[in-house]
């Protein structure tokens, strides 16, 4: 084996990709796209308040309609006035002090002598667009009947959720009053306790809280994307050499093993370059000051930081992950004649690489659970699960060491088997080989 031959191939693989405009477009598009899908909707929502007019016909006789009007005006006011609390988890439950999608204008009516005519008239108003919806509070609502809600569309779950929440609050107060209990006293006594989550120093590497969580998930998906994308690049690269018959010239100059290793290392380096650019972007964006000025995140939320140790772990895990999958892709690319044939078998790799995505929620919730530990030690999952665990909570050193040993052993095994398949397959043309044949190449060739 000649290292200089490997290096020449590596250089070609690396430069031919990095010099390509497409690489830079893809590399820059990902952060832009990510920013677009996360930041834009938030900006749009916060900037675009709509107002909805809802007509309420109150037949309860207890002033539920008026109470709702007051209640909704009040929550809107407190939401606007309430400063963001330090470390607050942004709540998804609208109507609980968070900014609302819409301002509601409630218009109350008393039930008319002819309810049918009143209903028809209200329907007409909604149809004409003079009101967005109308509601009917029957006398039984204070017991257990539902409130009627009539609107042009009934899939506006967020609006309905808001209304349901506020109306429940109103009705509860009326019920309490009827039972002779002071609602204000009741509220005082049943107040929720908030959890102020803080990470124990020295256990983790991220800033904790939501920011740390988002950071872990972003890391996970960047690695996932890189391994999948660049692994497949290895396959298409091998297929190209086979298809254009460049391979015969190459094989007459260097050994198949040198060629395969050069290709794997070159493309691995391209993937690392891209990851470095992405992580660099993350570092710049999360640098103190920048985020605050951009004001995308609530003030005072501690941003996760990338330590040197964490970055080294990430780099090693990426290399191992890339090799675990790319060796397979190289063997598949070498065995088949075109992309269609190869893709069918290559989907086996996708199954393994997608599996960690399925359990990401469980791992985030308990990164030290038996399942999380087991999966992070399985060589095909280690490169994705381990970074996720590291980002959330640093695993014990022995687990990390064991994972490295297992994955490295696995990767060496993959290189050995796949280079044997590659060596034979790369010069096979014509008939599509069966899996049994490919298996034979690995062991008997």
């Amino acid at each position: 084996m000649r290292l200089d031959s490997i290096f020449v191939v590596l250089k070609r693989e690396y430069l031919s990709r990095v010099k390509n405009k497409g690489f830079w477009i893809a590399t820059l598009a990902v952060p832009l796209f990510a920013a677009a899908v996360t930041i834009l909707p938030t900006l749009l929502i916060s900037k675009s308040h709509t107002s909805q007019t809802i007509v309420v016909v109150d037949a309860t006789g207890q002033g539920a309609g008026e109470a709702l009007k007051v209640q909704m005006a009040q929550t809107a006011k407190t939401a606007a006035a309430k400063p963001k609390e330090k470390g607050t988890v942004p709540s998804r439950r609208l109507g609980k002090g968070d900014s609302r999608l819409a301002d509601f204008t409630i218009e109350t009516q008393t039930p008319a002598a002819n309810p049918q005519a009143q209903r028809r008239e209200l329907d007409a108003r909604v149809r004409q667009g003079k009101a967005d919806a109308w509601m009917w509070f029957g006398p039984g609502m204070l017991k257990d009947e539902a409130a009627e809600y009539h609107a042009r569309n009934t899939t506006n779950f967020i609006t309905q959720e808001t209304l349901r929440g506020d109306l429940s609050e109103v009705v509860r107060r009326i019920r309490l009053r009827e039972a002779g209990i002071d609602p204000a006293r009741m509220e005082e006594l049943t107040k929720r306790v908030e959890l102020d989550a803080k990470q124990v120093p020295g256990t983790g590497t991220s800033g904790g809280g939501v920011a740390g969580l988002i950071f872990a998930v972003v890391l996970f998906f960047l690695l996932y994307m890189s391994i999948l994308m660049w692994g497949q690049q290895v396959m298409t690269g091998v297929l190209e050499e086979k298809g254009t018959r460049v391979i015969e010239v190459l094989i007459s100059a260097i050994t198949p093993f040198e060629l395969m290793m050069g290709k794997l290392l070159g493309i691995c380096l391209v993937g690392m370059t891209q990851l470095a650019i992405w992580l660099g972007t993350v570092l710049v964006l999360t640098a103190p000051g920048i985020v605050a000025t951009l004001a995308f995140l609530p003030a005072g939320v501690t941003m996760p930081t990338l330590t040197i140790g964490m970055m080294l772990n990430l780099a090693f895990l990426f290399i191992l992950g890339f090799f675990a999958y790319a060796t397979f892709y190289a063997a598949i690319g070498a065995s088949f004649n075109n992309l269609q044939e190869a893709q069918q078998v290559a989907s086996i790799a996708v199954v393994f690489i997608v599996a960690p995505v399925m359990v990401i929620n469980q791992i985030i919730n308990d990164p030290s659970s038996t399942m999380a530990v087991a999966m992070s030690l399985f060589p095909l999952f280690t490169p994705l699960i381990m970074p996720l665990r590291i980002a959330i909570e640093m695993p014990p050193a022995w687990q990390l060491a064991l994972a490295y040993v297992l994955t490295l052993t696995f990767v060496i095994g993959m290189i050995w088997i796949c280079s044997r398949i590659y060596r034979v397959g790369i010069l096979m043309y014509g008939k599509k080989p069966t899996i049994q044949e490919i298996w034979r190449w690995a062991w008997h060739a």
């Binding site: 000649r2 200089d4 031959s5 020449v8 191939v9 250089k11 070609r12 031919s16 190209e240 050499e241 254009t244 018959r245 460049v246 391979i247 015969e248 010239v249 190459l250 094989i251 007459s252 100059a253 260097i254 050994t255 010069l427």
Partner: protein, 301 residues
């Protein structure tokens, strides 16, 4: 002189199909060696075994006097039958790459590449991508890639296919230059005329077997002692029926290529021919390779 390349009774079968059924050949240094034969004779299969792309079932291949080692790769230049270059790479980058994988240094390569590109009139294409070039141009680039590292042995599979006569001539000159530096060229072709014009040694392959092998001049001398050019009119069928006649082919109108059996006497045959033909010319001649080839194939069958 020790041969640069020696192939000893090499055989290769794919299932029941015998691609190469016993080929031996010996390539002396400083020669152009032609591997000849019709399509499907086993030329490419033989070359692929020489290049270690496939392994022979039996037999032995010696390069530079010993079984080949991976380091020998750098002393060999190979042009495969199916040409291939990276489509998206520029001519310069491509050639630099092909030189570098054979251990050459970039600084030494650039002037060498420029010199070659100038010689094949591709200088102004050096920055163009391969996919922008015509097939003929691509072939020239690939040939440069084959000789850049100044190999001691060039192995070219059908180097002339797809080239126009001007470029064929250019290739021929390049190869003869190469030979004059004491290096060897093995080329396969099914074009007998071309082979005849440039090869010193030949190996004729038919149906996977070497039917003739040796120095072209010697072969011609050995097999062509009884070849004649005849200009005559009359009953040619009767001529072909004569026991002394090995082969009689009509060239244009009344010109006949006549090959007699090795033991036949030319003068005696002429005397008999005069009896039924109006002979205007009867001249002893070197046989054409094609005639030799066809005879060898017939004898082997």
């Amino acid at each position: 002189m020790n041969p640069i390349l020696e192939v000893r009774d090499v055989r290769k079968s794919y299932g029941d199909f015998v691609a190469v059924g016993g080929v031996s050949m010996s390539v002396p240094p400083g020669s152009i060696f032609g591997l000849l034969g019709p399509n499907g004779a086993g030329k490419t299969s033989t070359i692929r075994m020489i290049m270690n792309i496939t392994a022979p079932d039996t037999g032995e291949i010696l390069v530079f006097g010993r079984p080949r080692t991976p380091n020998d790769l750098r002393r060999i230049g190979y042009l495969p039958e199916e040409r291939g270059l990276y489509r998206k790479m520029t001519v310069m980058d491509q050639l630099l790459f092909l030189g570098e994988i054979r251990g050459m240094k970039r600084a030494a390569l650039v002037p060498e590449i420029d010199r070659w590109l100038g010689r094949v009139e591709l200088a102004k294409w050096s920055g163009s991508k391969i996919e922008e070039l015509s097939k003929g141009m691509q072939q020239k680039v690939q040939l440069i890639g084959t000789v850049l590292h100044k190999p001691d042995l060039l192995i070219l599979d059908e180097p002339f296919s797809g080239l126009d006569p001007i470029n064929q001539e250019l290739f021929r000159e390049l190869l003869q230059d190469y030979r004059s530096q004491g290096k060897s060229v093995v080329l396969s072709t099914h074009g007998m005329e071309l082979a005849e014009r440039m090869c010193d040694h030949i190996c004729l392959i038919s149906n996977g077997r070497a039917v003739l092998d040796g120095n072209l001049k010697e072969i011609k001398h050995r097999l062509g002692g009884n070849s004649f050019r005849v200009i005559a009119e009359g009953d040619l069928d009767r001529l072909r029926a004569m026991p002394e006649v090995e082969q009689a082919t009509i060239q244009n109108n009344d010109e006949i290529k006549l090959m007699l059996r090795p033991d036949a006497d030319g003068a005696e045959t002429l005397r008999q021919m005069i009896g039924f033909l109006k002979v205007r010319e009867f001249r002893s001649e070197e046989p054409e390779l094609e005639q030799i080839f066809m005879k060898a194939v017939r004898d082997a069958a």
